[in-house]
């Protein structure tokens, strides 16, 4: 719907974004302390969080599925560095995104959408680790913008490296 005046300022259509669904897509929690009967005790865990993202277009117009993938590894800091637990979580959401210019769509899907999903991911990780008998793990906030830039830089680097050397 356009205004009768047809003012140019109004010409840029309103960005529309809506979360249609959000869900745990895949999850794996391996509690090695319990499985191997390790002594829990007062071990110092060394926790690593890996994040990766994926976005794809759905068959329905303007709909995208965005998946945040978290891999949390906890290792014994001292001694033999055996794994204490290993958590993998694919948390996804279906977004309705409209009127985002083509060149901005990619960053939008990989920065804005994960930002919306993250609090839920954080809660799940916290719950699951607690349920596994560990102190609940509250993952630090992820700066998805910085992550995106890093990824871009990495790709550019990779591309350069892949260029055949004359």
């Amino acid at each position: 719907m356009t205004d009768a005046n047809g003012a140019p300022a109004e010409a840029a259509p309103q960005i529309r974004m809506q979360v249609l669904a959000q869900y745990v897509r895949d999850m794996s929690f391996e509690n090695m302390v319990a499985q191997k009967g390790l002594q829990g005790g007062d071990v110092q865990p060394d926790i690593q969080v890996q994040v990766s993202l994926d976005a794809r277009k759905r068959s329905v117009e303007h709909q995208y599925e965005v998946i945040t993938k978290f891999k949390v590894t906890s290792k014994n800091k001292s001694g033999s560095a055996e794994t204490l637990f290993l958590l993998e979580l694919d948390y996804g959401g279906i977004f309705h995104v409209e009127n985002v210019p083509e060149d901005q769509l990619h960053p939008f899907l990989l920065i804005e959408c994960p930002r919306l999903l993250f609090p839920f991911v954080r809660r799940i990780i916290s719950d699951v680790t607690r349920d596994g008998g560990f102190p609940p793990l509250n993952v630090d906030t992820v700066d998805f913008l910085a992550l995106y830039r890093m990824e871009l830089a990495r790709r550019a680097e990779a591309q350069k490296a892949a260029q055949p050397v004359q």
Partner: protein, 908 residues
């Protein structure tokens, strides 16, 4: 003075005489048959062989019944082929061999020909006869020489030697009579049992073996196991570093026990070493030698000490071409390619500063004792066996029979001359050699080690006596030196190797002389040269005989009377005159370590003066007692070794016969099924206690295990909730489900492929498990001796533990096989293509890597054989590193069908 025993022997004859007498009638019958066989045509002789074969193989006639005719035929065959007519004593030897005895025949009595009789007779049964010699040269020579006889008789001869192709070997073993060395036979046996199919095996059973120089093979070598091994990781720099410390040790740091050939650190030594190891950084700060982490370094240090204190250059080994070559303590020969185990060889390599070869891991091993006990029947020949008769009987069930010589021995064996010091002894030896040399009598001087032979050589040089030295260093000229040893006035110093299997002929070797003369003057007519030389030779031989024949002079008694007798036996062959004497001193190793105190007293009673030798039967007796003591000790060691090895041998036999059965069986699905059922039983036992209710079951664990081991996603939880489900029902359902799964697989693969997959998986798993098991047993054996400190018998401890290990090996074998079979599945089209691509990439990479060094190897040979139908561990280990990030819940890229986290991604 006649003792009771002597008197009885005079009247009844020795047991040996009786044995000899018992076969005289057989010999007489063979002699009676001789004219009949002489009348046959060449063709007739061959037909006789065919007739005999029919009678044995179809008519069921026993070989014993056939003996007179077969021997008569063989004698005639040999006469026509070689122009040699066997003497009666040779027939006798043949009969003893056929009866499964050791025939003791003096050197030069024609043992090679003797072997043909029992070989021929037993070959008639069509199961193959092995004639075993000590080296490849003799095997080839005898096979060629005696092959003429067998060919005359219509039988095929084969010879086995190293580096033959599989086809050649197979053909040689398939021949009626096969000549081979003991090493090659043993190794082929081991190699056969690492083969993947029956068709590839070379040997065809172990029916009858005739072992030449049987004492050397079954006694001297019995302690050496044959080992097929592969290299393991390299620790060479540690050997070198440790080696630098050893020379710093002084005498109170270690204790050397020459008697048991052992060396250990003393308390001071340990302290000193720990200090030095810490200083050099070999031992990390704050760690002591007694910590469990220090096991490796302690091992290296111990081996370093042994390398320095127990192994002397030119005595136990020599250095040649950047390699340490061990010397056989009995024959003085170099043992090329033989290495000490357990890092000792590396330690010696470090000591001598040659390049250090990596340590080896055993893949398969067998001792000669056990290999030769595989034969249904065994016969042996040697010049000297009587002293070890007890051992032959006890271990191999072989009797020893002394076969009378064709002509009586005309050698005079003198009593030992005993001096007080080594210096006096050497003076005596030189004087004696000088005397004999001047009279023109050829002399063979026997020494016990290379450096002793060289020391003596220096003494003779100083005395101006020309001589030859024969030891491991002169390997190449050996034949020449032996050929010359019988010449007029020749002096030859030899280690006790002195050409076993070759003759020292009085007056020298005619063939050798002819060859030399022809080489010097190629224009001369061979026949003329030969006639001239033969005439010269006859004259020289006469003169040597007049001088008293060959004089054998021993400079020391060996640890075994048998070796002394061998040395003596070089003289007085075939009725030639000869003389032998041993020169000893109280400083000789044997006397020093094993001699009794009585001897000292005896000598002082007899009143010994400087430079004077004592020759008295008492001394001889005392010495022989000392030797018998050593012999008994060595026998005990061998017996002990055998007892330990017997444990492994029984297991080896079980595994090898299983293997053979698997190779022979067409369809293994039943065996696989049995294994599967057994695994199901085991799983149920583990997770579901007997007579328990469903709620006591470890359903989750069981489910995981079933999925892991059987590849089945069984609805166990559902079953557990059903009414009236007990263990038997679960077992039945699981068996059914697994059967169904395998049937489906078999259909998907096609029955042929499935069978070959089963076979491959079974064999590969058995081999891998057996290899592991061998290693474990080796380790067990190295520590089980300590149980003695706890008042337990190490042997029986070893037996029980080895048996438990064996059982657990079979257990895990079943599990592995079942698991692998459960995980095998046919590949989809795309997967096959992907696999091919990957395979080609690998090849390209391999070829690129090799290119600068050598031309790219043939791709088919270089890369592991692709088996496109197979996935899983068999299809070449997949490389998890190449898969990148795989989600924990994703199916494992290896294609097992399991989740990654349950398969290659499993955290352990």
């Amino acid at each position: 003075m006649l003792g009771l025993g002597t008197l009885a022997r005079k009247i009844f004859g020795t047991p040996n005489d009786r044995k000899v007498k018992s076969v005289r009638s057989l010999v007489a019958r063979i002699n009676d048959l001789e004219p009949e066989f002489q009348a046959l045509s060449d063709e007739g002789i061959k037909q006789k062989t065919a007739e005999f074969q029919r009678r044995v193989q179809e008519g069921g006639e026993s070989l014993d019944d056939l003996l007179p005719e077969a021997f008569a035929n063989c004698r005639e065959g040999a006469r026509r082929a070689l122009g040699l007519r066997a003497f009666d004593v040779q027939l006798m030897g043949g009969i003893f061999l056929h009866q499964g005895n050791i025939a003791e025949m003096k050197t030069g009595e024609g043992k090679t020909l003797v072997a043909t009789f029992p070989a021929y007779l037993n070959a008639l049964a069509g199961k193959g006869v092995h004639v075993v010699t000590v080296n490849d040269y003799l095997a080839k020579r005898d096979a060629e020489w005696m092959g003429k006889v067998y060919a005359q008789l219509g039988l095929a001869t084969g010879v086995v030697y190293p580096f033959q192709s599989d086809e050649e070997k197979k053909a040689a073993y398939a021949a009626d009579i096969t000549y081979a060395t003991n090493n090659e036979l043993g190794f082929d046996y081991l190699r056969d049992n690492m083969k993947a199919s029956k068709e590839e095996m070379r040997q065809r059973g172990h029916f009858f073996a005739i072992v030449d120089e049987v004492d050397s093979i079954l006694i001297d070598e019995a302690r050496t196991p044959l080992i097929i091994s592969g290299p393991s990781q390299d620790r060479s720099d540690l050997y070198t570093k440790v080696d630098k410390l050893i020379p710093e040790l002084v005498e109170e740091h270690y204790k050397l026990d020459e008697k048991t050939r052992n060396v250990t650190f003393t308390e001071e030594g340990n302290e000193f070493l720990e200090k030095r190891l810490l200083e050099t950084g070999l031992l990390p700060e704050g760690q002591s030698l007694y910590d469990p982490e220090s096991t490796t370094i302690v091992h290296h240090v111990n081996q370093g000490l042994r390398a320095h204190k127990l192994f002397n250059r030119d005595q136990q080994y020599i250095v040649r071409d950047d390699e340490i070559m061990l010397i056989d303590e009995f024959t003085g020969r170099m043992m090329r390619g033989r290495r000490l185990s357990d890092g000792l060889h590396q330690a010696i390599e470090a000591k001598e500063g040659v390049s250090i070869q990596p340590e080896n891991v055993t893949l398969a091993s067998v001792t000669f004792q056990n290999y030769f006990r595989l034969y249904e029947k065994l016969g042996g020949m040697t010049g000297t066996a009587a002293t070890e008769a007890e051992e032959f009987m006890e271990i191999y069930g072989l009797g020893v029979v002394e076969v009378p010589t064709n002509r009586p021995v005309a050698r005079a064996d003198e009593h030992d001359a005993v001096y007080r010091t080594a210096r006096e002894k050497h003076d005596g030896i030189v004087a004696s050699i000088k005397d004999a040399h001047e009279r023109g009598q050829p002399i063979l001087v026997g020494t016990t080690s290379i450096d002793k032979s060289e020391a003596l050589s220096d003494l003779l040089k100083a005395a101006g006596i020309p001589h030859n030295v024969l030891n491991a260093r002169q390997h190449e000229q050996e034949a020449q030196i032996v050929a010359d040893a019988g010449k007029l006035g020749a002096v030859t110093i030899a280690t006790n190797m002195a050409g076993r299997g070759t003759d020292i002929q009085l007056g020298g070797n005619v063939e050798m002389k002819v060859m030399q003369a022809l080489a010097a003057d190629p224009t001369a007519h061979p026949d003329e040269v030969r006639a001239r030389i033969e005439a010269e030779h006859a004259e020289e031989k006469e003169r040597v005989k007049e001088a008293g024949g060959l004089f054998v002079l021993g400079t020391e008694r060996h640890e075994s009377r048998r070796i002394d007798n061998q040395l003596r036996g070089r003289s007085g062959r075939q009725g030639d005159p000869g003389r032998s004497a041993f020169f000893l001193s109280l400083e000789d190793d044997l006397m020093r370590i094993f001699g009794s105190d009585r001897l000292d007293k005896v000598l002082s009673t007899l009143g010994m003066k400087e430079g004077e030798a004592i020759v008295h039967p008492w001394v001889n007796k005392s010495l022989e007692k000392a030797q018998a003591k050593v012999e008994a000790r060595n026998f005990d060691i061998r017996k002990q070794l055998l007892k330990f090895d017997d444990v492994m041998n029984d297991q080896r036999k079980a595994i090898f016969s299983q293997r053979l059965e698997i190779m022979e069986t067409e369809d293994l699905s039943e065996i696989a099924q049995d294994m599967r059922y057994q695994v199901i039983d085991d799983l149920i036992d583990q997770h579901m206690p007997p007579r328990s209710y469903a709620d006591q079951w470890d359903i989750e664990g069981m489910h995981r295990a079933v999925q892991d081991k059987l590849g089945l996603d069984a609805p166990l939880a559902k079953w557990a909730q059903e009414e009236g489900v007990d263990l038997d029902v679960v077992r039945e359902r699981l068996c059914e489900a697994s059967d169904r799964q395998m049937t489906e697989k078999a259909e998907a693969f096609g029955p042929e492929t499935m069978r070959s997959i089963e076979k491959q998986i079974l064999l590969q798993t058995i081999d891998a498990k057996w290899r592991e098991h061998l290693l474990t047993l080796e380790h067990l054996r190295s520590v089980v001796g300590f149980r003695g400190y706890a008042q337990r018998d190490p042997l029986s401890e070893y037996k029980t533990e080895a048996f438990a290990l064996f059982e657990s090996m079979l257990n895990s074998l079943r599990q592995d096989v079942t698991q692998k079979l459960a995980q095998v599945r046919p590949l989809s089209e795309e997967e096959q293509q992907a696999m091919m691509r990957q395979f080609l990439d690998q090849q390209r990479a391999a070829a690129a890597a090799e290119a600068p060094v050598a031309p790219a190897p043939q791709p088919a040979a270089a890369a592991p054989q692709p088996t496109p139908e197979l996935v899983g561990a068999e299809a070449g280990e997949p490389d998890p590193a190449a898969w990148g990030n795989v989600a924990r819940n994703d199916p494992c890229p290896c294609g097992s069908g399991l989740k990654y986290k349950h398969c290659h991604g499993r955290l352990d």
